[in-house]
């Protein structure tokens, strides 16, 4: 039946490759898909958190800070439970990092607070003696780019089916149609349009600044602006 194949070395090699590759895919893909599913409690980023994530990347925080707690006793004592792949389901791109000049930030939201970040970003060495982290003063002056964060949300919502619920669907039956992929009932809202996204982000920012001390920041948010420090703190607090 396969004599023709045995007489054609190229076709035979191709057949061997396809057979072995298929066997490999059958082994690898189901396992990969299973472990890449979002874990219970893993939610997509809200607009402000995503804007903060973009600021995190913009300032190359991931060059010094990893977001991957490895399964060693010393790591879990310091940072909390080791990382699981399902926790990165909504990270595009993931920020695992391979070099730790500073500590891991995978679960920093569990053990640092808004006011601590506020003090720390201004003058890291003043809070942590001996810290070599430079101050990030411009975060207090620059304003957050909510529009780009919203654009990213719209993109991942339509291309990767990330379970965002549009603000206009809140409270309607349609909201029930977009549950979290982890099976929980929580809902993450995104704006219907840019203006809506900005107002959602501003509401979130108001909750953050309630715990902050800097009067300039409080005033900016009261005036409808969102300094970058607020967005990056929202992102830090979401890392749990």
């Amino acid at each position: 039946m396969f004599h023709w194949l045995e007489k054609n070395p190229f076709a035979f090699a191709l057949g061997v490759f396809i057979t072995i590759a298929f066997a490999g895919l059958v082994e690898i893909i189901p396992n990969f898909v299973q472990s890449a599913r979002p874990l219970v409690g893993t939610k997509p980023y809200s607009t402000l958190e995503l804007a903060g994530r973009q600021i995190y990347i913009k300032n190359s925080c991931n060059a010094c800070h990893s977001q991957m707690i490895r399964p060693f006793k010393s790591e879990t004592d310091r940072y909390g439970h080791y990382s699981l792949s399902g926790e990165y389901a909504y990270d595009r791109p993931f920020l695992w990092g391979s070099k730790r000049t500073g500590p891991d930030l995978m679960r920093v939201g569990n053990y640092r607070t808004t006011d601590w970040h506020e003090n720390h970003m201004k003058d890291p060495a003043g809070v942590v003696p001996g810290s070599i982290m430079p101050p990030y003063g411009w975060l207090y002056d620059n304003m957050t780019d909510i529009d780009t964060a919203y654009a990213e949300q719209l993109t991942v919502e339509s291309v990767f089916a990330v379970p965002y619920t549009f603000n206009k669907d809140k409270g309607t039956d349609k909201a029930q149609l977009i549950p979290m992929r982890d099976g929980s009932t929580s809902i993450v809202l995104i704006g219907d349009n840019i203006a809506d996204a900005r107002s959602l982000a501003l509401e979130e920012a108001k909750l953050i600044v309630a715990d902050m001390k800097d009067e300039n920041i409080k005033e900016a948010v009261a005036n409808g602006q969102i300094p970058e420090i607020v967005a990056i703190i929202a992102y830090m607090n979401s890392l749990k």
Partner: protein, 307 residues
Amino acid sequence: MNKIYLWGIIITAAMLGFTYVSVIGSKGGFNGDIVNMLAVAGAIALVIITVFVVIKYVRQMQVDTADGELADESWDDIGEYKNPIPMGWAIIFLATLVWAMWYFTMGYPVNSYSQIGEYNEDTAAHNAKFEKEYASITGDRLIEMGESVFLAECKVCHGIAADGIDGKAANLNQRIAAKSVKHVIENGSNNMLMGSENPMPDRNGLFNMNTGALITDAEIDAVSAYVANGMNGAGGDVFASTCASCHGETGMGMEYVAPNIASFDTALVTNVLNHGMKGAIGVMPAIDRLNAKQKEAVGAYITSLSK
């Protein structure tokens, strides 16, 4: 006799001779040791068997003619006989099948390496060691442990000297600051400090029993200064008439009712570590990944600071 047998005998004799010279003829010889004799006997047998097996196959190549039935397949005009499967090969093949089934169902799943498995073993071993060496320490050793935990977990906010870094966190060298007392009186407190929802009312629920009225601004300032000063000075009368019913006359607190506000103690520190707290200065997160002994140690260390 075929020439090949002659050569076989010559080579065998030469190898046996070499064996004799190198072992028996050397200093010590067999040394009267049975193991040496067995080894030499084995060497002799190996030499003889090897030589005559080689001779058998060489002879076979010289004299054998082709017979038997050819298989239908013929690649590049090289034919192949339909031979029965050699018994040894068949046994190894079947044994491999059995081994594969064992490996698939038992060998790999039961014995395979897992990083998480190693982590679990490591953690269990560490916890057992901790239990053995540190579970029962008290006194100065407990305070030492508390200091090391403090320097690892707490100094990032409270500072190396536990002074709160210029008001960025609570100064742990004193029990409580006047600002914090005032904040709690004005806003109430429900920070799960006693392990359950047991709120302290805000100023609209705090009555001064002496005057029979709600606590006033002046009284708040007085009692805040009194508590912050280590239960000393003016304001003691306000404390006695307003706060003492829950916090006790000396401010030492009551179990399940109100925390100790006169001094730190382990129960208080453990509760804050378990539940975090939100006060005048800001929010402290729960640091609940410490184990019970470490929390106790931190309590002992912080208590020792303000003594």
